[in-house]
Symmetry: C2
Subunit: 84 residues, 2 copies
């Protein structure tokens, strides 16, 4: 596997996994006031389209990374409504 692909995979892991500490923080604080709902909405639609793009070009890493991110964002949206 060449370096370019490895860099791509690391980048994908980081931007996907970055939402985990946000989910943990929101859950612990029981506060999401400072999070922008519009940000979450645009990001959710964006990662869905990335997943569609991944399906069309047949790229499993793109599909997987974006579906994981989508689930994490959904959880943040739920907390945004739950913890006003």
């Amino acid at each position: 596997m060449d370096t370019t692909i490895v860099i791509g995979y690391i980048a994908g892991c980081l931007t996907t996994l970055s939402f985990i500490p946000q989910v943990i923080r929101s859950w612990r604080l029981r506060e999401t006031r400072d999070l922008s709902f519009l940000m979450l909405l645009l990001f959710a639609v964006g990662v869905c389209l990335w997943a569609v793009y991944g399906i069309w070009i047949g790229s499993l890493p793109i599909i997987a990374a974006n579906l994981i991110t989508f689930v994490l964002i959904l959880f943040l949206v739920w907390m945004k409504f739950r913890f006003k």
Copy 2:
């Protein structure tokens, strides 16, 4: 331009531009307590690597989208320290 590429561009625009409402919200509220610093850090490193990946595969949209996101994230990091 075929539909797949268009979907990819729309997805890229959405996930990039989604940080703008977050920057606006943080600026207006003068509050960033609910934002996870680790999320911002991982995302910043992630988009930098995406930009490197973009340079290596010669993809201007990947470079541009990720550099814009990087600047927006830097601004959020600055506010995270500024507005404790």
